[in-house]
């Protein structure tokens, strides 16, 4: 098993000494910080907001207020936050059905997201899309795709448009480890590489392809990074639970894309705390695995400690957390009060004329 070989070692090596040094070495300060305090606070805020909003989504699901299905990214927040903070406003995100985190990370209001999960009229798509299709074009969130791997070629198309028109936006495409075994993954990677497209492919390797350990169904240890060389790309594996590591790698990939040097493929090692979808309690995981990740490698705990290293007081951290919870509460109330979508939108927007008529 062990999809985590490379990264955990790196993570442990990175983190353990940091803790040990804390007493002896002087605290890291804003003066020696390559990321900057404002950015760090932003990385933290977005992770917390994603966590709180998704936990609320789960609660609302238990109350039968979130309908259909939902796929949470609890435990994977550092990836969405790290990339989103590194993005520029015009950059385009392409997500999977596990896309709440990436949508929130781009600044889409919680009420719009929860409203869509609750399939109310105030939702992002007024209930016509549901949890798996979150889209907010004005925020650069160009859709969440419920067919595994479908969006990798689509992200190539967005990048192709940017290249063709000379725009400097990058297409960022998030997907899970399971996606790396579908044909579209390989078609898109080759296509992006030969056309040198400004697209960044981000594999969130959370160790499980739905209910099955990815290692059981994949011939290589790192399902994305080990295949990168097949497309002429460097193999990149990072600790996806460390928002700083994600942010730094994102910046590198975006700079490469904007410089016309083509695509990147980044494998972020992470772990989802919840099951695959709302129907899945995640019982297939070995005893102690989830607890270990929650206790020792939770991205939000990691980041709280990081902020403390840089001298951010607990008061400021608490304030950010309280503000997030206030937003979640307000969004929840607004969604509960929101009406169901009116039936007259049922047949709108099938065709560009606004309607659904396929014949005269």
């Amino acid at each position: 098993m062990t999809p985590q070989t490379k990264t955990p070692k790196r993570t442990a090596a990175k983190r353990a000494p940091a803790k040990a040094q804390k007493a002896a070495a002087p605290a890291r300060t804003a003066a020696n910080d390559d990321i900057g305090l404002d950015t760090r606070l932003e990385l933290f805020r977005r992770q917390v907001e994603i966590r709180d909003c998704e936990q609320r989504a789960y609660d609302l699901f238990l109350q039968n207020l979130v309908k259909g299905t939902s796929h949470l990214s609890l435990g994977q927040e550092a990836i969405a936050a790290g990339f989103a903070v590194a993005m520029q406003p015009g950059d385009k995100s392409f997500c999977t059905y596990r896309g709440h985190a990436h949508t929130l990370a781009r600044g889409v209001p919680m009420e719009k997201v929860l409203g869509e999960l609750m399939q109310r009229d105030n939702g992002l798509m007024r209930g016509k899309g549901g949890s798996m299709h979150l889209t907010s074009v004005e925020h650069g969130v160009m859709g969440s795709y419920a067919i595994i791997g479908a969006h990798l070629p689509i992200a190539c198309g967005s990048a192709w448009r940017a290249q063709y028109l000379g725009h400097d936006d990058v297409a960022v495409c998030f997907f899970g480890d399971g996606t790396t075994n579908i044909g579209a993954f390989h078609e898109a990677l080759n296509f992006a590489a030969v056309w040198k497209l400004p697209v960044v492919f981000v594999c969130e390797n959370n160790l499980y392809m739905e209910y099955t350990p990815i290692g059981d169904v994949t011939a290589v240890e790192h399902p994305a990074a080990d295949r990168a060389s097949a497309y002429g790309l460097p193999s990149i594996v990072i600790d996806g639970n460390d928002a700083d590591a994600v942010y730094r790698e994102a910046q590198k990939a975006f700079a490469k894309a904007r410089a016309g040097e083509g695509p990147s493929l980044i494998e972020c090692m992470t772990y989802r705390h919840s099951g695959h979808s709302r129907a899945d309690p995640g019982k297939y995981r070995p005893d102690g695995e989830l607890e270990d990740w929650k206790k020792n490698r939770d991205p939000i705990n990691i980041y709280k400690a990081r902020l403390a290293e840089f001298g951010v007081g607990s008061e400021q951290i608490d304030k950010i957390m309280a503000a997030s919870m206030e937003q979640v509460d307000a969004a929840t109330e607004a969604c509960k009060a929101a009406p169901l979508p009116p039936e007259d939108i049922l047949s709108t927007d099938v065709y560009a004329d606004g309607g659904w008529a396929w014949r005269n």
């Binding site: 160009m142 479908a150 078609e187 296509f191």
Partner: protein, 325 residues
Amino acid sequence: MAELTYRDAVARGIAQEMRRDNDVVFLGEDVAKAGGVFKATVGLFEEFGPIRVRDTPISEQAILGAAMGAAMTGLKPIAEIMFSDFLAVCFDYIANEMPKSRYMTNGQVKCPLVVRTGNGAGSRFGAQHSQSVENWAMMIPGLKVVAPSNPLDVVGLLAAAVRDPDPVIFFEHKSLYAMKGEVPDGEILDTLGTAKILRPGKDATILALALMVPRAMEAAERLAAEHGIDCEVIDVRSLVPLDTQTILGSVAKTGRLFTVEENPRLCGWGAEIASIVADEAFYDLDGPVVRITTPHIPLPAADNLEDIVLPTPARIVATISKSME
């Protein structure tokens, strides 16, 4: 006015739109330097260069996915899928992605693109390179489906498809590429969703599409000459949008309806039209709607077998004359 082949008309239509609008780009397998396996895109690479006319790997999902991503962010791509049979390889984009993006996002995402593809039999290619699959596309909400039968319609309908704000699947018939026809100089723009009455008649209406149109026309002439049956022939041209009005108007006049379809019988487009006519014009009918189709079998390769499968003018004449007795 110049006489053009159907294949030259394809290149003429694409070139017209690329000259008019810099957002129109073209991609596909072997379409650029090689000019297309059917030579339907010769000259485009030379005129518009490698930035606008791009060869792709054999990656149908990447071709349609990239076309879609480009369309939803501002370009107007034309994507070629070499043989329409290969639409199955990238069917996710045809069935799930392109046509549903607008609806699922409550109108936020637009998907103006054209998928051109070589459809139909007649070249002895066998069951995986000869199918007529316009029905695959017709059944999906959100797509438009066009299939021209002559060079002039190719140019005009292709231009209309490129300018259309919805995803359009444009079925070119492989056995029509060599067909010649007069095409006026200058810009040509047709209208999607308009059927054309090619031959007025009073006794029966024949609906046909693509390769079946010249066959229906030939059959109509023979029915008139040999059986005294005066048939109105309608080139359907566009399955979505469907010009039901022209069809129902013709049935009201003639009282009889025959469809000539190259597709296998089951769920062919003629079945849908027969259903519409039964619903909305039942009392105009003097007899049952009769469908002339290929049987429900894969296409064989051999000359004699493929010829038997496709509706021929002789079969159309025999079926109609017998029904009208």
